[in-house]
Amino acid sequence: MAQIEYHKKKFLIIEDHAEFRSSLKSMVRMFGAHMVDTVHDGEVGIAKIINTHYDIILSDYELGKGKDGQQILEETRHSGLLKASSVFVLITAATTVEMVMGALEYEPDGYITKPITHENLKTRLDKIMLEKAIFQEVDHAIDQKKYKLALQACDKVAKEQAKFQIKALRIKSKLLLNLERYDEAATLFNAIIAVRDLPWARLGLGKVAYYKGEYEKALHIFQQLAEEDKRNVEAYDWLSKVYQSQKQPIESQKALQHAVERSPKSILRQMELGQISKANQDWAIAEVAFRKAVNLGRNSCYRTPSNYTALVQVLQHKIKDAEGRKSKDALTEALRIIDSLEKEFSDNTDALLFAKILLAETNGNLGKTKEADQILTALATDISNAAEQMSQSMALSLANAYESTGHQNEANQLRDKYKTSSANEMINNDGIRLYKAGHLKEALAIFREAAKTPEASPGVLLNALQTSLSAIEANGSDDLLMESCNRYLSRLKNLDSNDKNYMRYQKLNASYANLSTPK
């Protein structure tokens, strides 16, 4: 085997057991590595990854109470902190391998099973590094967001390296799905299945069916996968999505509950479950899910005020309706969460306003109308300033607070104004609010996802288009976004010239043409 230049690589070891940590360190030092950092938990690990570029990260899967290795991987890869070209290796006990492995969206570059010896660490690491070298061009293109180049590089590996063919095609299929080139992705998945019936390829076909609006077909595929292997968490995630699209929110919640049971530490799933069960008015489930989301979100890139505010809102039902002790506990928790909201998001005016409104709502539900009224009076200016771009969620809490303090008219007005006909509309409104507030990245994520469904309205498509164009202007050209813009425009091609959106369409079309002409 070729020699890997470990002395040139920067290592990070994430391991909670002091003894094992130092033995791992001494092992990699024996391979010649001398740039080796070690940390004892996931939170510190993520902080290190934010500040330093590491070539190789070795992380234990089990890290005690905090984040586990899979979470570290998900967070750092998802947020782009960890480059595709960096190597992430998960250390697992033999029995946890199967819990960890499988249809996961973010997979490590390799696993090393305990017990670890100097020899097996070296051979396994060599193997992973050599494989990484084969995918160097692919990873490099992905890191630079040159997705067309990445696709070509995948094809090259698949053609030239028989034993990495399937892996190369798997990466290619992910890229195609990201680029929303669904027909090509379907062809590829079918070709793979013809060679070998691999669950991830069938899952891929299900995703394609979902994005093309073929919900029955998608449902069938995901149900079959979930039935065959109850560990297939991703199949349950997608089942939940399909049920949501089919307006079966109870079924959607059930599927997601199963996924959450299997992976309780996944913050995104907890958030999703919280939102779905809250909409279903299943307060008990929503309460647990948002509480977990708040706790998991601490020191995470997914930390967001909305988990805090949703938890406090859900707790209101107990504060209002539960008996004695339960109500008191709910109150204590709500006050504590409002307090953390104010402390942890002290530079976020929106969150601070929401915290005060929640305090008023809580007081109102306790029958302390005087206190609630005082808070609302003090907020009058802030509220009127925010009136036009308040989130629906905040508006509803405010309406409750108004109602409890006898301002029935204001409450009714707010509820009328923020009444939304559909979940899609609500999502669209959230996106607009974020865009206006300058949170381009978050707005883009929302609109891109909303525009993926075949039934997306011209309004949503134009929002996605406008946000993408703004992102290109702000951050420079990007294959993925340019291609998305192109697709949004072709879907809007037949827009009637009398449509209220037509002017906007023409204007954005011109901006796109301007950007896509080489200078």
Binding site: A93, T117, K127, K163, Q165, R196
Partner: protein
């Protein structure tokens, strides 16, 4: 089977086996810590490495027992992926290099670099472990890991220069379901291999193993056929 507590004996045993396996892995890592941090002491105590070898052997067997229990309950789902055979075998070879050296035996790999196959790495690896331990026990000087493509199967051979399998075992090639006293060292291993390989199949073909005589070294040859 008695059922006093509402939990069946098999489940109870599987939980215990699981715990014992973890304890043994702890023991192994303790021995390894001595080897890493006090190499001089480890060299003075050759028993230490044989304790480790025995402990690894026990641990591997317990892994197999657990896998068999899961297979029986229908809970064992293989995670099939494409793997390069030369890397897979080289890694195994490196893993056993230390033990071979200690016993003054050699181990090598013969495999075309482009060969690859579809299989669950952890499960097939476990079959190789029990076969290699057995081969190591019987080999005089040499062990060989060899892979070749014999349409429509990718074949992995584990060969040694020992006395080979007893004739009665070769006669009825796959006596997988009988764990008799004479072959108790290997009986469980064969049954395990058969169970695992049955999980590796295409719509038309299923994986299997054969026992034979090594054409290269003259001793035992254990061959795994992967479709």
């Amino acid at each position: 089977m008695s059922n006093h507590s509402g939990i069946d004996l098999a489940t109870l045993m599987s939980i215990s086996v699981h715990d014992i396996k973890n304890d043994i892995n702890h023991l192994i890592s303790k021995v390894e810590n001595i080897e890493i941090h006090q190499p001089a002491l480890a060299q003075q105590l050759p028993t230490l490495s044989s304790i480790k070898t025995d402990a690894i052997h026990i641990s591997n067997q317990l892994v197999q027992v657990l896998a068999l229990y899961k297979a029986k309950e229908g809970l064992l789902k293989p995670l099939i992926d494409q793997h390069g055979l030369s890397e897979f075998l080289e890694e195994k070879c490196a893993h056993y290099a230390g033990q071979c050296k200690a016993q003054h035996k050699s181990i090598s790999v013969v495999c075309d670099d482009q060969l690859c196959a579809f299989f669950d790495e952890a499960l097939i690896s476990s079959i190789l472990d029990s076969t290699l331990e057995n081969a190591l026990r019987h080999a005089k000087k040499q062990l060989l890991l060899r892979a070749e493509y014999t349409a429509p199967y990718q074949v992995i051979h584990i060969e040694d220069d020992g006395p080979g399998y007893p004739d009665e075992l070769l006669a009825d090639a796959i006596q997988a379901n009988s764990i008799d006293q004479d072959s108790r060292h290997t009986g469980l291993g064969f049954y395990f291999a058969q169970t695992i390989l049955a999980l590796h199949h295409t719509p038309k073909l299923s994986a299997y193993f054969t026992l034979g005589r090594s054409s290269q070294l003259g001793g035992a040859c254990f061959s795994i056929f992967l479709p």
